[in-house]
């Protein structure tokens, strides 16, 4: 064998040896957990995008911690000598993180959807509560504190609705809870107040029945004023012929006790005088016989009991008069109708026509049912 062949064989052998060594080096280097960690990262990212941190915080935080553990272990293993690295733990943590992220993603979707559904029902229910409050109490004198609570509750509901529209369901829920609390407690205390007022309903009902019967029996006109509904009903022959909107005294709730309390009295009265032109400043007026016997008796009892001062005046000059249609309660205790309505009743009602003024012609339960 000549020298050239020898050298060639040695070079070839050396090359094969190097190749084998390189192959061995590659073979011995453990496969890095790129796929597992990438999958885990993608899953975590998807969960994060789906607000799993908010709507499914426990599994999301676990997934995050597992991912951090995978990365920390990977870094730790990378510090070891290349052939001694073991990525099994990294893969395990990454896979566990991926599973937790998927779980967080799924549960956050469900939780957000569930929260969304519950919120919309609660928002609807609070809106209905506001409608009820407005219907029952908009013209009903309430304590200023209650009015403040209602106003605050309404503002908070609007804020909750904005958060809801933005998809911030937790924030919406918090605002809504505050709103519910304010509005519900206001409703309950206002309802207790109105229930107390309506405790006289059976008496009012008797007065109404008596007035309608009288109208039927005498084939005559009679007037019923429903203070709660702000209505003036004109009956003829026991049948309701007219229905007008009535504006009342500023403090219309309750019975009139004393001059200047700006309350519209409750009871059986009769028209005692018809006034027009220079006789009244309210276009036309029908003066009623307030105070009647019952009013005077109750007033005296209150004076005797000391619930009213001896100097108190029972008042008078309660009328059904014109200049109404303002949409608010503004009189000192009278009942105001529009001038055109006054034209109608002024012509048909005569002196001695019964005028019954009640807190309500309809029971509270019925009002609440029809709210």
């Amino acid at each position: 064998m000549n020298r050239k062949v020898k050298i060639s064989l040695i070079i070839a052998g050396g090359a094969i040896f190097i190749l084998l060594i390189v192959l061995l080096l590659f073979r011995l280097v453990p496969e890095p957990p790129v796929v597992s960690v990438s999958k885990a990262r993608e899953a975590l990212s998807a969960a994060r995008l789906n607000k799993a941190g908010t709507y499914s915080p426990v599994p999301y935080r676990e997934a995050e911690a597992l991912f951090d553990s995978a990365m920390a272990n990977w870094q730790k293993e990378n510090k070891r000598f290349i052939w001694f690295r073991d990525f099994e733990k990294v893969k395990k943590f990454a896979e566990m993180s991926g599973k937790k992220s998927a779980e967080a993603l799924q549960s956050s979707t469900l939780n957000a959807e569930d929260l969304k559904t519950r919120l919309i029902h609660r928002i609807d229910s609070v809106n209905n509560l506001i409608l009820t409050l407005d219907k029952l109490f908009n013209s009903y004198p309430l304590e200023p504190e209650i009015r403040t609570r209602i106003s605050k509750g309404k503002l908070l509901l609007k804020e909750a609705e904005i958060e809801y529209k933005k998809g911030e369901y937790f924030r919406a829920g918090n605002r809504l809870a505050d709103s519910e609390d304010l509005l519900l407690t206001s409703y309950q205390s206002s309802l207790a107040n109105i229930e107390e007022y309506f405790s006289a309903f059976s008496l009012w009902k008797k007065w109404i029945d008596k007035t309608v019967s009288e109208s039927k029996r005498n084939r005559s006109y009679s007037v019923i004023i429903d203070k709660f509904a702000h209505k003036c009903y004109i009956y003829y022959n026991g049948i309701r012929k007219y229905e007008f909107t009535a504006e009342l005294g500023i403090n219309w709730v309750g019975d009139k006790r004393v001059k200047g309390d700006k309350t519209t009295p409750e009871g059986h009265y009769r028209i005692v005088k018809k006034l027009s032109k220079s006789g009244t400043k309210y276009y036309k007026a029908l003066l009623i016989d307030y105070p009647n016997k019952e009013d005077t008796e109750r007033f005296r009892k209150e004076i005797s009991a000391g619930t009213l001062p001896r100097s108190a005046d029972i008042g008078g000059l309660i009328e059904i008069h014109g200049n109404g249609g303002k949409g608010i309660d503004w009189t000192d205790g009278c009942v105001a109708l529009t001038d055109s309505e006054m034209d109608i009743i002024f012509d048909i009602l005569k002196v001695s026509t019964p005028v019954t003024i009640v807190g309500s012609a309809v029971g509270l339960q019925e009002i609440l049912k029809g709210k």
Partner: protein, 196 residues
């Protein structure tokens, strides 16, 4: 001769290993992490949530890639380095954009507050115009209570603006303005009825 060949092989192996040993871009990683943290401090997660999520994601991708390179026999950090630069630049851009967005929301808040103040002043004037003797009326009482609450909301919104919580202030002032405008209309209608 044999010695020379062994030396040659050893030298080749060393070269191969050394060539493969790219240097881990520690400083660049720190810079990128700091830039993302700065974006969070700037409240990018509140004002630009989608951009901030993308930024976080990009950083995670690069960190995974770096670890992946570190696990290899022949490491190459040129691609992760490029991406780290991109992440840092993106983070800086998000910080700038967040500042712009914050300013936008802030000026919207300030504008809304100014408009609200005007409406509330008008409402106060309208309430004062209501004829005496009508103040006890329940609806007007409710309006007064609502105006007090709106005033409270305005103060809260101003406090939030002063604290830099422009987004929270925005919700509050939006609702308050909506309510104040509603009251304005209601009052004008009520006064028109009274004037009839």
């Amino acid at each position: 001769m044999k010695n020379r060949i062994s030396m040659g092989i050893a030298a080749l192996m060393m070269v191969a290993i050394l060539v493969g040993c790219g240097k881990e871009p520690v400083a660049m990683v720190d810079a990128a992490k700091a830039a993302v943290a700065a974006a969070k401090t700037a409240q990018a997660d509140i004002y630009l949530p989608a951009e901030f999520a993308a930024l976080q994601d990009s950083l995670d991708v690069v960190l995974t890639e770096i670890e992946s390179q570190k696990s290899k026999l022949f490491k190459s950090f040129s691609a992760p380095k490029l991406k780290l630069d991109q992440v840092t630049a993106m983070a800086n851009e998000v910080v700038t954009k967040t500042g712009i967005r914050k300013e936008e929301v802030k000026s919207a808040d300030v504008g809304l507050l100014a408009e609200l103040t005007t409406v509330m002043q008008e409402n106060t004037g309208l309430i004062a115009k209501a004829p005496k003797g009508k103040e006890g009326q329940a609806v007007l009482e409710q309006i007064r209570a609502e105006m007090t609450e709106i005033q409270g909301s305005m103060t809260e919104a101003q406090t939030l603006v002063d604290k830099g919580a422009f987004m929270d202030a925005h919700n509050k002032v939006t609702v308050a303005k909506e309510k104040a405008v509603g009251i304005n209309t209601e009052l004008k209608e009520a006064i028109a009825k009274v004037k009839r």
